[in-house]
Symmetry: C2
Subunit: 305 residues, 2 copies
């Protein structure tokens, strides 16, 4: 992950399409840019990112039935990235856990995010103009079905990490509940629905601030909040640590949500800075050597150039 926040800014295909299709739009003057992280921090995030990639490639080999695994492999790795899986691992390590303990949860989060992105890009008959720039390699029908399977597959990966030697079954079940809530009724699903109400047909209209706040909270916010909590749960964190990392994730996600929609937002640096301060407050009781790295998710200096 070469610069966690650069991945934030480029995670949203709508933002990408907008910025390339209309390079002279006046709102582009508000585009945030990212200063590079230190080499140590960068190599920490890169190593997490590479480990998740390796784990997922092993979990989704291209094997029979090819009608299932070929598109699943493709859709998982072509989807826009999110920093939620990496946050899940970093949260696990912050509370003293080992990376392996959170690897399946991180992979599940990436699968579910890829599934949600795939479904969001499907050309349904009542949203025929949705993301016309998205090419459907396998056709919408198979992409619909495979993305359903990716949700189940994420839960399967996580449930399989039950290990009698680690006596971790209760923690794994807690993580399953966290992810199911974040992806379902109390998070991403509601955010996706609300966001879909402002389709591309609205052109370049700015999003209202209250609406933006809610969408960022329910989409990127819920996903990262869940990632922080899951990492802490699986790493054996205390109740207090779990709640702190849940809130840290929420603020990280909300900031990312704002930048994902930066070209059509009524956002202000004041709001971003407030969220950043709230986020950092949640980290102050942890091991400060480790905090330095995880806090880069919100501390990377942003310049309004």
């Amino acid at each position: 992950m070469a610069g966690a926040l650069s991945s934030i800014i480029h995670a949203n295909p709508r933002a990408r399409a907008f910025s390339t299709s209309n390079p002279n739009h006046p709102l582009l003057s508000r585009r945030p840019t990212v200063l590079a992280m230190s080499t140590t921090d960068q190599s920490y995030w890169s190593s997490i990112h590479a480990d998740i990639e390796t784990h997922l490639k092993q979990a989704i080999p291209i094997r029979p039935p090819l009608v299932v695994f070929e598109p699943m492999h493709h859709l998982t790795f072509i989807a826009p990235q999110t920093s939620a899986p990496a946050l899940c691992i970093a949260a696990c390590e912050l509370v003293g856990g080992h990376r392996d303990q959170a690897m399946a949860a991180a992979s599940a989060l990436r699968l579910m995010h890829a599934s949600a992105s795939t479904h969001e890009n499907l050309p349904l008959t009542d949203r025929p103009n949705t993301r016309q720039t998205v090419y459907h390699t396998f056709g919408p029908n198979i992409e619909l079905l495979i993305a359903d399977g990716m949700i189940s597959f994420g839960f399967e990966l996580l449930a399989q990490t039950n290990d009698p030697d680690q006596n971790n079954s209760v923690r794994v079940l807690q993580a399953i509940i966290e992810i199911s809530r974040a992806m379902g009724s109390q998070g991403v699903m509601e955010g996706q629905y609300n966001e879909s109400q402002y389709g591309e047909s609205d052109g370049e209209k700015l999003f209202p601030a209250a609406w933006l706040h809610n969408v960022c909270k329910k989409k990127e916010g819920a996903l990262h909040s869940c990632a922080g909590a899951c990492g802490a749960i699986l790493g054996g964190g205390s109740e207090e640590e779990i709640e702190k990392l849940r809130r840290y994730g929420l603020y990280v996600g909300m900031i990312q949500g704002i930048f994902n929609r930066f070209e059509r937002n009524e956002w202000s640096w004041k709001e971003v800075n407030e969220l950043r301060e709230l986020a950092l407050k949640e980290l102050k009781d942890f091991n400060q050597a480790k905090v330095k790295t995880i806090s880069r998710l919100v501390e990377t200096k942003l310049c309004n150039v």
Copy 2:
């Protein structure tokens, strides 16, 4: 469930649409009809069915956010029924478990089946003629997103049944793995894909026997196989009992799959009878008083009138 097999025959909207739109089709002479069950058997299945309905109505109240829970409630209860959830409960009771132990898994199976049916009926741009008779109360966009949420919600319901007093976390995780496999890469998803290759555009052509066999195995077969295994796992059954009820469910599901597509099949009574015999063989070592009722899923007398 007034006559388990009558619900089988009427579970498939395609079959329904066919039978009403073309009452004089010669294949209708092969329509199987169902003789009534005994009152005792009928009341057993009806009570299971009512208990699942009550459990789901409590689990999905119409509450905020209404944009989520209103369509989720609607889509869950309007979807075609399947006997898999009832089989899950019956399998649990057959191995000596209590109905409550399998209630969340049965509800999850019903939610996932409803989700799969909803997605199967979505009018995508590359299958615009799909089930034109299906009315989309909330519009395809919201139905797509809510059905995603229903998958996660099913896993949430199941994971929440972790109970330290029952020390059941490992069994719950096993059931989650069973359901995720059946609904995903090793079952329903592949069946749906294969079935979608024979769309309505093929008119009234008969399905090839090998294709039919595979679709029935992967769709209804995988769902009922998983239901039998989950019921036995959650009821505390032995490994042997779990495997017997997994196979029993597979045969039940395959027979149901054949009848769900009875108007366009090259099926034969010989094949159905063979599957029925295989199914009954799996039950011979269980408590015979209880076997009498569960075996009604395949024993109800069918007349080729």
